[in-house]
Symmetry: D2
Subunit: 350 residues, 4 copies
């Protein structure tokens, strides 16, 4: 079987693995206080144009989300997110487990609009029972979203403006950030995120690292004592330098964007093959996730050789599914899949 | 101003207050271990036909809900509830603050259907990512609902059947239980609740007591060590006998149902006045809450003398509002309000 | 049996009960927004010389403690308290249940010293692993303490000074505050507490009310959004005015101190009886709790007619126990008990 | 500088790293459902003589502890542990953050005795206020302890017996398990742990892996739905196979014990050097941690070249410190350190 079901089927990019091997027997202090983490922090600050940002390294995305949200909110506050957001659907209630409600709003192609946030906030403060309701304290976005879509710079500027005027933190989950930054049509940079958000993270797990996410905090309110909370929630890696070493390998040069572009281009190639065969998509996107809507017979046929992930039942004979590419996807595997899509017989496509 | 905005504007029914005064200087043990609580428990067990039920007394509804839900669920479990449910909307995230997600489903007139619960459960267990999602562990209903509607016995039987087959606890919030039991058309009894639910509570705060809710637990799994959790969550009243004394006054005879019937009848009278004037209702109900949809001008006019509570904007010139009656509502006040509704001039009614 | 085991065996002082009865059928808004609560707040602000303090009413002490501590601390912070402190021993882990460690220090007669707090804080910040340890964020005292002892004004001044210099909140649990204020030798006033603490509460449950504690918050950081958290933790009473009415009755005149003095004097009388008979005490105190150390035979003898509470085994034939007086204790009952103590035969006293 | 301060200064044992490199580009399912994890589970079950045990892999120790304890306890329960236990001192309140009190008992050389647990339990159930106190629900030990000491098989048998009779879970933190199993005088095996505990973990992070702990659960009550909670607490690694691959490399052959023995022997060598120079020890132990008590001058001298970690001030001129060896410690480094200890001048030793 060839796996297209997600973007974490393999280990790490070779240059990341080499960096780990090269530094393996050096002795350093633990918990992220070593020189590799320090250098990686510096590189990230530069890439973000944010010389005073705090940078913390965590092992995974759920951990990053629950730690940031838990650290930022007071007990009566909740976090606004799209209904399809990872924190609302696929983290087994991690946010609620640290005490906070996810205030889920209907998204459009996985995205929230600034106007929705503003309306929610205004409705809250003007409700006569406002103290009986969870107070919105943060907006959670992901870029790309769960559906692979991207915010435009203008949309993020508006969202940041609304958040500031309403006293809400703005936090962006960048589990697939590279695939977003490298995508056709993207006009958002790491500097934009650092300028507009209070915190965001640069995903490593799905982007060439063995594991790891680099959290960038620009708001001083969120910086205070963050390492205590990192430790408490189980997110402080003993051999923290493993994270520093990996992010250095990814970000010191251009590797992060190169491998993201590789995945995005292969995803476009795949999209094109589905499109040519006349299949519609659940959502239009240009990152590494492809969401075609396929008839059951086509799914069965492709499923004999390729692993994809199930998304949503559309009608009695069609489902939306997800095909992911990644830094590790081999062009040959995509070409082969494209050929097989092209060769699906009419009986299966109808 | 005359208050119709809620059902807790006054203190306690006189017979309740007299019982408190009569027993005031007696010495008893604390924390609900006194003879009054014991007798009240016995009366409730009899009324419920549930001789082995555990009965605990709590001061308020939010406390009861967060304590039961927190005691019943394991960390990864959530509670299914209608979107309009009190725990989802008006308890400032009390359930999330004890670590659990409210899994909100669209209700119909405030009610959940057994089929919705069954579908949700089946979708959960068949999802390939089920462990990444909150596991449903309980169904929360209220009877009457937030919108004053009632479940039929048949609906509750079905719900209980589904809950049992899916391994879900069934818990019913009876903050206004008496108004439900006394309502025209209700076919559910306390015994039915005790037989069908794992736990439910008999509301006192809105039903003639100064404060207090009587929680009935029939499922042995929920009984174990409940008093520890009651204490931990701040719900164990030092002078627990105050609750026992009040519930005895309400339930030993027929007072609870009498005063509920009083309120329901006055609510029907009020409904009739709105109906005759041609006003529609947000929802059809027969308990003590009335939800007419009124034009702004009528609201302004009535608001000069009567306090109601705001429910929902319907269109650019109409809102649904809530008028509540209670055990304490004076018939004269209702008559007067009915007259004023009847006398609203055409300019205000249109 | 005559109960001396605690100070909440009876209902409420008659003047409190009368106030409840007198206002019973008035209509007011709920949740503490009524005129009685407003007047009670004003009276308390005046008594505290703290015109800008926020005052909230809660039903019980565990609730007050968990709500204040939960509202004040960030996730990685804990609360310093004496090992014997109520929150450390007798609240079923209510503080931990809202996520915070009780950092228990050995007390002296139930009291913490400012120097202990300072040392703990300095040790924390100078530990190389400080981020791996719970950060102290608050000091919890009670006045009187669990052992009935009192802080001197000088001790509280020092504690407040240390807390401010270390960035710790100072919170005082005043479940028995009146019995402290009225005690022989006490030199602390409500104004002192309001000036020195960030928050403290004036106990009602053990001091003549049916139930209720009045929380005084002077630190603006703790004021913000407190009512949300009050609601979330189940501590916002629907008919909030019941608390306002009771505290008005207790505090508008001198009732609170009068009834406290009554209890303290009876406790002194009891102490004298034990002392004359040659019994030592677990701790020297002048409030309403008496902790004699008695031989088993004497305990058995007295236990035939009087209920006391068990405190601590001292050696193979002696235990420390607690006798409490209260606003409700009848002088005759104390006289009788004193006579019986005096009449204990030598065989029982040895 | 040469680091002896902890046992996680380096990366991974070469054979572990090679295994990661060898499997790097294979495609597998995520979240621990891959064939490597499956094989590693099988190897562990065999080593433990526990064919029906559940095995889960986590990234780190704090995470393992908070997840197991959070999954096992009901809200009102706490975990008994020695005062020096890692969960009580060095995890920033992680256990409290998931809602549970650590019930700390004085240890002897870091160890709890079965009799202490039994006494605590009996005192709890016989206390008249038991429901007002945290109920003990679990015993947490570590083997080796924080002070490097070991339980004997007899001690563990007794502890298990007491736990079973009191209804307490027994959980053992094996962060340094290998160093314990390989130590001179140890008579406990993995099979013993699997037989006596309800859950324990085999440490990888400090024992040759880049990171990772293998949790073994034998009690069916703890098995149920554990993966949900693993995900919720942020402990489910996306590329779970990284953990399986590492534990296979460590445990399929004898590597785990070999490298542990290596560290223990070097520690004995170091102990001997301190002993010969006349230095006492904080505690007698035979695992990889050495706790000499040294005069300030000697510490200063050694500190010029060696990094150790600080343990405890003993008197005005002496401190106990910790020197750790590990799988990665070079014998030459130990020899050199031993020579320098031997060569400390009398002025510095006194």
């Amino acid at each position: 079987m060839i796996y297209f079901n997600c973007d974490y089927n393999e280990g790490a990019h070779l240059r990341v693995l080499e960096a780990l091997a090269r530094t393996n027997l050096e002795q350093t202090e633990g918990y992220g206080t070593d020189p590799y983490c320090e250098r990686a922090r510096e590189v990230i600050r530069q890439k973000c144009g944010a010389p005073s940002a705090d940078v913390h390294f965590l092992v995974g995305g759920t951990q990053a989300n629950l730690t940031v949200i838990g650290a930022a909110l007071r007990p009566h506050q909740g976090v606004l997110a799209a209904r399809t957001a990872h924190i609302n659907v696929h983290e087994t209630g991690a946010v609620e487990a640290v005490g906070h409600k996810v205030l889920a709003l209907p998204g459009k192609a996985g995205k929230l609009a600034a106007s929705q946030v503003e309306e929610y906030y205004k409705a809250h403060v003007s409700d006569e029972a406002f103290e009986h309701m969870v107070q919105p304290g943060m907006v959670y976005l992901s870029h790309p979203t769960e559906l692979g879509t991207l915010y435009t710079l203008e949309e993020l500027e508006e969202m940041a403006k609304v958040c500031r005027s309403c006293g809400l933190f703005l936090y962006i989950d960048g589990a697939r950030l590279g695939y977003g930054l490298a995508a056709a049509g993207n006009d958002v940079s790491m500097s934009d995120l650092a300028r507009l958000c209070d915190a965001f993270y640069i995903g490593g797990t799905k982007e060439g690292a063995l594991f790891g996410e680099a959290l960038v905090i620009t708001n001083p309110l969120l910086k205070k004592d963050f390492r205590y909370i990192l430790k408490q929630k189980g997110g402080m890696l003993a051999k923290g330098r493993l994270l520093g070493v990996q992010f250095l390998a990814l970000l010191e040069g251009d590797l992060y964007l190169e491998i993201s572009r590789h995945a995005d281009e292969l995803a476009e190639r795949l999209r094109e093959a589905f499109r040519q065969k006349g299949f519609p998509f659940l959502v239009e996107s240009h990152t590494n996730q492809v969401f075609p809507i396929l008839p059951d017979a086509a799914l069965e046929q492709l499923g004999k050789k390729y692993v994809y992930s199930y998304q949503e039942r559309m009608d009695s004979s069609h489902s939306a599914v997800r095909f992911c590419t990644s830094w590790a996807t081999e062009p040959e595997a995509v070409e082969e899949l494209c050929r097989e899509i092209g060769a699906l017989p009419p009986s299966v496509v109808a």
